[in-house]
């Protein structure tokens, strides 16, 4: 029991130390050989404890809690980098533990760049990106500020005129651009939406003064401080991303065997791997970046979670409630 308490105190100290060094270094730290020895000792002690202490075997809640912890440790070690290495040496299972793959719209790929290296490995199947898109919260708001600091907020609705005040006049959003470019025609600047790959979201805004004079201002999402000295208002708008979606197909032997739109919180599971929406081409939206993670050991960890939860709830809540009903 003393050893158990000591190992708990050591883990408290190590966790606090790990919190100070940052996630990346903490991951390396907790996977170092001395820590592997610690994890193994902890798992062994739990197993010995279950076998040696009769109370742990007799009390179902305590048994579930301790056995759950054993499964979490075993699953975690089995799914770790060292665990994957061990599986390769012992059983010849050469599975990618974690990596990334960038796939262009319309093309398919099976190359995964392993995390932390430039080494590439192949998946036994390919992924095709049908489409990648970003969705935004609606409505988007245009923020208007006078040089004296007065502010308004109007929804971005093309063609609708919004009165601001008697002194400020009205404002109207004339056009919304996805990729605004500026060209020259007959010595004049011409603004147009370029259909070629690229992203420069902007708004064309018409300001009508109380006297009836109109002027035009362009608001660029990517350049929020952009304004000219003669501009009456400081304008800015920012679209808040609500979701990233990659429409994927899994291709095996030339056939589409699975299809899924993956989003944050909705990964794709196939062939012992999980695929996550990780990043994207923020310049032109032409490709998506997926995180590829092996599921080795995962379900053992989940089984441990269930047992731990059930054990704690049974031992600390339910058995007392039931015993109260009995009496």
């Amino acid at each position: 029991m003393w050893v158990g308490l000591l190992l708990i105190i050591v883990l408290i100290v190590l966790s606090i130390y790990g919190a100070f060094i940052g996630a990346e270094r903490a991951e390396q730290f907790f996977n170092r050989p001395p820590l592997v020895v610690y994890w193994t000792a902890l798992a062994m002690l739990l197993i010995i404890g279950i076998a040696a202490f009769r109370r742990l075997l007799r009390v179902p809640g305590l048994l579930l809690i301790h056995a759950g912890c054993v499964l979490i440790l075993i699953g975690g070690m089995w799914g770790s980098r060292a665990g994957h290495g061990l599986q390769k040496r012992l059983f010849g299972i050469d599975k990618i533990r974690s990596g990334r793959m960038a796939i262009y719209e319309g093309s398919s790929d099976n190359h995964v760049t392993l995390n932390g290296t430039r080494e590439q490995k192949k998946l036994p199947f390919s992924l095709k990106l049908k489409d990648f898109r970003i969705e935004y919260y609606q409505p988007v708001y245009l923020r208007i500020q006078t040089r004296q600091g007065r502010q308004w907020k109007v929804p971005v609705e093309v063609g609708k005129e919004f009165p601001l005040s008697e002194e400020a006049g009205t404002i109207k959003i004339v056009k919304e651009y996805e990729n605004l470019k500026i060209g020259m025609e007959e010595g004049k600047s011409v603004f147009f939406d370029d259909p070629s790959p690229g992203s420069n979201p902007a708004l064309e805004v018409q300001i009508t003064e109380p006297g009836g004079q109109t002027s035009t201002q362009y608001v660029f999402e990517l350049f929020p401080g952009h304004s000219h000295g003669q501009d009456k208002f400081l304008l800015r708008y920012h679209r808040v991303i609500s979701d990233y979606i990659s429409e994927l197909q899994i291709i095996e032997g030339g056939k589409v065997v699975a299809e899924k739109d993956i989003e944050v919180n909705h990964p794709l599971r196939f062939g012992g791997y999980h695929f996550y929406q990780s990043s994207y081409d923020d310049k032109a939206g032409q490709y998506t970046v997926l995180q590829v993670v092996s599921d080795t050991g995962l379900y053992v960890v989940y089984a441990g979670y269930w047992m731990l939860c059930l054990g704690v709830i049974w031992h600390m809540w339910l058995r007392h409630i039931f015993s109260r009903f009995k009496t």
Binding site: M1, L5, I12, S15, G22, A23, N265, I313
Partner: protein, 263 residues
């Protein structure tokens, strides 16, 4: 420090005032009036939370302002502890209510935010709500632990548990919630960030707080009530790590990580 001249701010200040009045009235031995004021404060706190929910159009548990607003609804926990667990500390709960609502009223930014994609999950509400509930229980346990250290026992006629046992009972209620919060967070991390354990500072601090209470149970199992002061110190240490997990990790630049949106 900023005063919020909004309906939201007004509701928070009214709750704080009601809780403070309830505390003063209870200390002045007017328990019935104190209870009525406490109940009134809770009703206003529910209105403040509901108003925020309506305003931001999602369960308001996204940032520290919303989380502290939620923690202000402490009354049902007080009632549960009193009626079911036979644990006192009613007037201290009123002060806990004031303490948790003050940062929401005077410090944290109340600007509504839209949920980033990672937070759009069915796990968002249970994960945070379960943690908040466990934190309230653990705060109450700490008050009992402090009473034990200070040698304060309930009056004989009150039919309440002595502080050491009260601490244990409350931790027995809070610990499964803490476990559930940790596991739900881990499962959610797997869905959103591809790993059930990311070694993020917030994750490590929450593991540390869970382990401190685990240490408490092991120590208490080994020695029972032989060393009540050390038992109490374990409980206080657990709540100290919870405070660090909840506040320091989010507010300090030392611990930047995946949970930084929660400030």
């Amino acid at each position: 420090m900023e005063i919020k001249y909004t309906i939201q701010g007004l509701l928070i200040y009214m709750t704080i005032a009601a809780y403070l009045l309830a505390f003063v009235t209870t200390v002045l031995r007017r328990p019935k009036a104190g209870h009525a004021l406490y109940l009134l404060g809770f009703a206003i706190a529910v209105c403040a939370f509901g108003y925020r929910w309506y305003h931001v159009r999602h369960v308001p548990l996204q940032n520290l302002f919303e989380v502290f607003l939620c923690l202000g609804m402490i009354y049902p926990v007080s009632l549960f502890c009193r009626r079911v667990l036979r644990v006192g500390g009613y007037s201290a709960d009123m002060l806990i209510g004031v303490i948790v609502l003050s940062p929401a009223g005077f410090i944290f930014n109340a600007e509504p935010q839209q949920l980033p994609p990672a937070l759009q999950s069915w796990l968002f509400t249970p994960h945070v709500a379960v943690y908040m509930l466990s934190y309230i229980f653990m705060a109450k346990a700490t008050f009992q632990a402090i009473c034990q250290l200070a040698g304060k026992n309930p009056k004989p006629g009150e039919k309440l548990l002595p502080p050491e046992e009260a601490t244990y009972r409350i931790i027995c209620v809070g610990f499964p919630l803490l476990t559930l919060g940790l596991i739900l967070g881990s499962y959610w991390g797997k869905l959103a960030w591809s790993d059930y354990w990311g070694w993020d500072p917030k994750e490590l601090w929450s593991l540390a707080s869970w382990l401190v209470f685990l240490g408490y149970f092991h120590f208490r199992y080994m020695f029972g009530k032989k060393h009540p002061r050390i038992n109490s110190l374990w409980a206080i240490a657990g709540t100290a790590t919870i405070i660090i997990t909840l506040l320091w990790v989010n507010l300090s630049r030392i611990f930047s990580g995946l949970h930084s949106y929660a400030t």
